[in-house]
Symmetry: C2
Subunit: 281 residues, 2 copies
Amino acid sequence: MKVKRSERLIDMTHYLMEHPRELVSLTFFADRFQSAKSSISEDLVIVKETFELRGVGTLQTVPGAAGGVKYIPGIKRKHAEELIGSLRTNVSHSDRLLPGGYLFMTDILGDIHLMNHVGKLFAAAFADQEIDMIMTVATKGIGIAHAAARYLGVPVVVARRDSKVTEGSTVSINYVSGSSKRIQTMVLSKRSIAQGARVLIVDDFMRAGGTAAGMINLLEEFSAKAVGVGIFIESEYSEERLVDNWISLLNLTGVDEKGKTIQVKTGNYFDKVQSFLDDKK
Amino acid sequence: MKVKRSERLIDMTHYLMEHPRELVSLTFFADRFQSAKSSISEDLVIVKETFELRGVGTLQTVPGAAGGVKYIPGIKRKHAEELIGSLRTNVSHSDRLLPGGYLFMTDILGDIHLMNHVGKLFAAAFADQEIDMIMTVATKGIGIAHAAARYLGVPVVVARRDSKVTEGSTVSINYVSGSSKRIQTMVLSKRSIAQGARVLIVDDFMRAGGTAAGMINLLEEFSAKAVGVGIFIESEYSEERLVDNWISLLNLTGVDEKGKTIQVKTGNYFDKVQSFLDDKK
């Protein structure tokens, strides 16, 4: 039975949201809704316009027999500013200060709504990149990695500090943590990354960049390539970083344990991200 | 400017999917779309019918001045059977066999599409429960926890094996792992769970149930309550389990290292889950 336009639009939206950056053929939708491809094309124009207007992404059309549409999550600059602004306020709260000047962020990294925002921000930042998988290191980056993966439609691999029997054979590297100068180990299951894979690295925190540099080195062991580094919060660091290029949402500029204040500014996100949804209009 | 129905339906679908189990007032949508509440009500009927027909969930209407709608993710029995069936085929693959009879599952736990399926299955299983948060233990359950959290709209807390300075003050318990009889430690940040919270426990694997029982005990330290236990794959176990009630997607009945076979059957999911979307029709 032919499906009405209203129902098609609802189900299409649902389907595309669950399959970001995946090529969906017009035939797939035509069969699903028992409708003519011309109707499906019209529907997709409406979905595209609404997604762009509402600032949730766009539809990319791939022409030809093997063509179709891809939902590419994106964000408007104003919305990105709002999201990062509210993360900044949240992280700056003096309650977060722990002895030693550390910040308590576990609640943020477990907050699914905030993680959705972080995932969207990273997906928009790396929208123009071809990405095969997302890599992070256990434990705190995992929520961020899954959030980004959800909007980029790719799998997550997690490097560990220790080797576990359930990982099978592994590749391990030693690296020097940049700020503490300690030697650390990072282990990744041999079968987790295909040769030549294009990998987006994400993590919750970066100071000197030793962990991110370690992940990049580990990728080299797999003949895989780091196509970007996304950091939730970087910390001011006076020496040269161990990585060249990264995108951060926040920048921790100072912690005053006595005065109980945390200074956080916006990271380099708006310097680095090339395009936002509203730029196209 | 008044927004057309087609655009309203697309944006409503998007909004509801990003805010599962959250009460959204009609006024919110009426303001967002500059439309009359009567039109919004009509839209919501169409969305509800489509969601139910397509088997992605339902809309619950809360009447009265403080009322509105909630999107409750759900699943049809047939679809649940398909998803669990394909997970079963995937897990049974002899490639997964590691020395010692362990199973390699890291790729599954990092596959965002499979994790979405797992999240949906758990969200549907616990759809009738009031849930404040999801708890798991590092590291392998974290992807499952975030997937379930996405469809249940609640935060994730992660218990750790060791205490880290960035967790602040912590509560720790010792427990006996049921199958290996080893004493293990589990640590949770003091500020991670509110008193009286209703918590869904999830994990990737369960044998005797020692880890799940440990999490339940740890929750008691917070005067919080475990409202359910969701397990990706349980393993056949001849003695009494250390937990009373759990829902599993898969059941590992045997591993033959020499013959290189893995026997997996469907878990107790269909015995335990009370209702599916198609039951209502």
